[in-house]
Symmetry: D2
């Protein structure tokens, strides 16, 4: 089998996968270098998504570590969420000092990612939001948030900045919650290096059709990165892709193929109770399978059915051609 | 009591309120002119929201009818949803002739609204969407949709065009589903007469906090019209405002007051089993009550609590000052 | 192809499929006898589900009509929902006269169904519920509801009474909302003719896994009837089975096969914008396909994987064996 | 102020409140005895809810610790969820040895609770469920689960066994998910010491009206314990009661008062970012406030309005009498 997709993954699958009830985690937590080795050993995974500065701080050191196992740096995510310090927000924080620190951290992360030849820098602002009605000064918070994003996007235009929207968790309400808000922000910046990470599960839990969110983003050349996973449209369960929503996952691959997506196909799963290597392997194989199915569908003349909104005709195709 | 809010309402409360199971409706359906009279008789309602061309086609006739009862024309909604003809979409329709007809209808509606001195023209594109995975050519549909909106927004810049987003119903998935997508479209047009109708229930069913959606829209001077109602965040039940989500409804009024909203406070309820006059009266009274509470909260120093993300402090205020 | 499943369907597919916005419906509404003919003409449909007394009142007349087209009477549903009269409930109504009338109607329906050799009598109590907090006297309503069910279940023990639970619509909250509540009621009656109609879409919108709800019901010999359809877990869209939730639909068939379900496989779809015959045909074909896939899965040794909670192993099977 | 409600609370408010992203927690984690002191210091809290055996194993020791601070033992929850060992279930586990161990642990917990004069023993079976379609042998799992519950309920009939249902988390799907399923189980056992813990948030996230779930349980004398908290109907956010769903929280208190609930009013909140003492204090005060409001509503003649399903009349009461 030829692996021609750019697939990166976080190291989560080789971590303890703790949750609020099982604080010790469901599984052993491997050392960072071992995690990289284990990741590299999964057929089809060619890149890694890492948190800055919690997983790498020095690009030179990282480059050596990656070279050793033969992985590329895909995504660099700025970690402004994993410690209590950011509990009331990062780029939107009301505290001027803290917000300045956040902006500075993003810039340092951009520098590091450029030096380490990473593909993009991701802003997932999970702590920027609120829990309770009336808790947030919505006007000020959004103003601060937008300005900060504008600033970091402008910092080094040669580096792509990917906004990963999410509607909730860890905050009960996160500011950048939907593909629409993410696109609105990107458009307002007027910059081509402002784009989107489409996390399939985030899209589903925001009640979106991920394929549609991808299309909207690609129409503006703003789809930079995918985070593949799945859930029951209710929460970010980070399940294996296509395990729940098969048709919509295939539909996503159909549109990625059709519109020529050339960014990274990231894997963002949390196999709490599953073996990490097995879960990643299954994910990679499913992704290739879904692409193959999507490619076949592209040859079926399905567009004619769509032009007539022929739902039955489309379903005839899906059930008869894809299920065996 | 002094009624100083601009409140308009649809005539739904004086219609049969049929649903798919009770096709004959739960209540009598009054004639149009009687509906206007009944609406005008509700204390505090000063305007009406009407569908073009199904409820009015000739502005001159309408003006006389409205003058007779003493109502202003608030919203003019383009009716491209209530007949089977539009079942596969209007401004996004794949059929070129149908789409051209839709665009033409919007333009005629704009002309009529201007002549009848209406406040804004609303695009609620409830039939523009799809039901099934793979049913829609997402790329083409969105391209057509955006272009059509751009065209009608440009048609007569002196008239506000309000996009009312809704995530579903009657289509299982509607294209313009969230405040983010609506804002994205408005920003892309680059025109100041492109704005938003914030239907509270639509916002809730898209899992938004309506206050936040209002703030985002007002930050760009794009909040033109409200549709007040309520639901369980699950469906567009069109219930009486504040009957389910009290705090978030008050929070919306807080931000409308604080940021000086000066558009129309539309009422969009469906009192299937309730008396129309009683339901509208209750709605108007609740809205004034919520505004009064919001005004009091503005005087409490709540902003300091918000600057510290002090959820407990905020709740102390709400529970101790507002509940009696 | 051999059709050995007992499949009945409502006549909805040949009705106007009106909703609250398109009151005239999306399609033509056929006469009753024509609807029966059209239904009988769909390969694989052998029975019909009808409302008493709105679709049939006289069993003798119905028997002739059914004989003419070669259909059996599957389900008889008591229609206490389609007119405004029942807007505040039927078996739970606070009005004593109305409630007595409802009970009497159910009994007459049971008599009619027995005479017409129907399979079961269904109670779908869509109007028994409420919209607003505090609107319902929850204690009295539930007491009345349970007593009435107990009475009609005891009326003629030779006839199965199928309770079709639904969490909402047309009421915003319906009393008998989940499989658990339906089972609780059945168990309390202590009668074997008290059972359940599992509507897949109702189960999904109550956030259930329909297969699990079927298993629970079958463990107590209380699964009498299925209503096949699909949705996005959000609302009773009544879509074609397996069009959204493929895996869980196949899982349902797996358990029906494994535990030997021998009731009726009802079809309850609302093809608002689709041709009725095409939609029903697609549904029947999909159901047979899903059963065939389920039967193959039964031969794979999947039980061993389940005993080890081996989610990856199960997924290997699904993706590699079922997708082609 | 007189504190006459029996209120117990878990120690969560004085723990680190870690989540999967902030593994180190948002706050300091206090020692057990300090947690008890801090809890006892909150005005109105008279009891504690503890996990067996992770928080107490020896009843004699616990009794001394509680006497020292002046707290009673309310709930004893059997901890079969906080370590990886139970990741595939406890009372439903396919592994015979593990399941036997779970049953034995529950029995030991019952013995301990009786000796420590606790009010009830709670089964919250958070790890009994599954993530993926086809992962669970639904028939065997439910059979094992029910048998185990039957056994432990029969073990010492003098001790109340409270089943706390929850629809998900930590498993994506938990078996005992709704009030209906919990009631069904209780009824099947035929035992009066089988009852329910109604966690308001669990009820909301299962799309229930908590008041209705309480009424159903009280009608069968099976409501033993409350877990007060709140959320957005989407997830178990464990927020402060009444902070989101005010009306439904008050409605719950209305029915508890009206039907004379005499069990424990447990507090189950997770103040991730709030001070524990402040959050608990706010919670206690809100609960007394809601009860007071409920008591006033009981005097208004609201029952007459309910008998007529008069939603507007009810709302007049709520908005005019309760908001100030």
């Amino acid at each position: 089998m030829e692996y021609d997709l750019k697939i990166d993954a976080a190291t989560t699958s080789f971590s303890s996968c703790a949750d609020r009830f099982v604080k010790g985690g469901y599984k052993p937590n491997y050392e960072f270098e071992r995690q990289l080795e284990m990741l590299a050993a999964v057929d089809g995974i060619t890149g890694v998504a890492l948190d800055f500065p919690s997983q790498y701080d020095d690009p030179a050191t990282l480059t050596k570590q990656l070279d050793k196992v033969g992985l590329q740096l895909g995504m660099t995510e700025i970690d402004m969420y994993s410690t209590a310090k950011w509990r009331y927000g990062s780029l939107s924080a009301a505290d001027d000092g803290l917000r300045a620190e956040a902006i500075e951290l993003v810039k340092r992360g951009i520098d590091a990612a450029i030096e380490a030849q990473g593909f993009d820098v991701q802003l997932w602002l999970g702590q920027d939001g609120y829990e309770y009605p009336f808790q947030s000064n919505l006007d000020d918070s959004w103003a601060r948030l937008y300005e900060a994003i504008e600033e970091v996007v402008a910092y080094r235009p040669e580096m792509k900045i990917s906004i990963e929207y999410k509607i909730k968790e860890p905050r009960n309400r996160c500011y950048i919650s939907t593909v629409g808000k993410a696109l609105y922000i990107c458009e307002r910046t007027g910059r081509v290096n402002a784009g989107i990470t489409l996390d399939v599960g985030h899209s589903l839990m925001a009640l979106e059709n991920p394929a549609e969110s991808a299309v909207l983003s690609m129409q503006r050349d703003r789809l930079f990165h995918l985070h593949m996973n799945d859930n029951y449209r209710d929460w970010d369960h980070d399940m294996i892709p296509g395990s729940v929503n098969l048709w919509e996952t295939v539909e996503l691959f159909y549109w990625l193929e059709k519109m020529g997506f050339d960014g990274w196909y990231g894997i963002d799963i949390y196999p709490y109770r599953e073996d990490g290597t097995a879960a990643l392997t299954r994910t990679v194989r499913s992704m290739y399978k879904f692409r193959e199915v999507a490619q076949r569908l592209l040859e079926t003349g399905i567009e004619k059915l769509q032009a007539e909104s022929d739902a039955i005709g489309v379903m005839d195709l899906l059930i008869e051609e894809i299920l065996q």
